[in-house]
């Protein structure tokens, strides 16, 4: 208990980042509204970012923070394209449920 509630170490941040990632994972697997799935994905990216910054501080190396910068840039691009796809999906299928888009299942 002392180790958990005492001094905040890098391990605390890594476990928290795993928890945030797991919450996002639950969202991606269970929801079927495409917009909410995309939001859960952003949450997973954020969990990874937290681990990056924690290890960056742990090793006193700023490259982890630079990587987070690039992750955020890619996440912005990904969100823009994915939302465009969702708009196109809504136009074709009349909804944003991913159960409507099953053509690739074969």
């Amino acid at each position: 208990m002392d180790r958990v509630f005492g001094e905040i170490t890098t391990s605390h941040y890594v476990v928290l980042s795993a928890l945030i990632f797991a919450v996002g994972l639950c969202g991606v697997v269970t929801r079927r509204n495409a917009v909410v799935i995309l939001m859960s994905l952003e949450l997973m990216l954020n969990g990874a970012n937290l681990a990056f910054v924690a290890f960056s501080r742990h090793h006193a190396n700023l490259q982890g923070q630079v990587f987070v910068f690039f992750v955020i840039a890619v996440a912005a691009a990904e969100a823009a394209v994915a939302l465009a796809i969702i708009i196109a999906l809504n136009r074709v299928k009349g909804g944003v449920s991913i159960d409507d888009a099953t053509e690739l299942r074969g």
Partner: protein
């Protein structure tokens, strides 16, 4: 570092994330996600990563999530279309995989000390390698690192954003 920053920021992020994932109304989901990202920003600031903490609020909460709200409003998603809960058999599957993932990370971090009851000390793989140095993630330090060592990836990221803009316009336009 201040433990309160960690506990409060972490609680806000986790609770916000859980609520965002479970809300039936997509707009409520976005708002809880904003709360989660603000908590995440507090965590970054607690780790002296000032620049990342600020762009977390500016870019994530300020730009990306507003884009989500914009699209939800644009599509005019009726709540009835959002209300259908969501694949019950996948809920157990999702919870199981999430639990397994967290258990794996905890096992790695603690070196199995939680299960074997080994006297803690230096368990796990995350050890201090020497004296912790002061690391200031200020704009100056990050910009120095970014433009001195990662200039090419930075320029490629700008091209990526340009491609994303053009791609989004091309995808959403009815007639090109």
């Amino acid at each position: 570092m201040d433990p309160w920053t960690f506990w409060l920021g972490g609680a806000l992020t986790l609770v916000g994330g859980m609520l965002a994932v479970t809300r039936k109304n997509a707009v409520a989901s976005v708002m809880w996600l904003v709360a989660a990202f603000v908590g995440m920003s507090a965590l970054f600031l607690g780790m002296d990563a000032g620049f990342i903490g600020v762009i977390q609020v500016l870019v994530y909460a300020g730009a990306i999530l507003i884009l989500f709200v914009f699209v939800i409003m644009l599509l005019n998603l009726t709540p009835s279309g959002l209300l259908r809960i969501d694949r019950p058999r996948f809920v157990t599957l999702g919870l199981a995989s999430a639990l397994a993932f967290v258990a794996l990370i905890v096992a790695v971090v603690t070196g199995g000390a939680l299960w074997t009851g080994a006297a803690g000390g230096e368990g796990g793989i995350i050890r201090r390698t020497g004296e912790p140095q002061l690391l200031e993630g200020s704009v100056l330090a990050v910009a120095d690192q970014l433009f001195r060592h990662h200039l090419l990836p930075f320029e490629i990221a700008s091209v990526l954003l340009l491609v994303a803009i053009v791609g989004s316009v091309a995808l959403t336009k009815r007639k090109l």
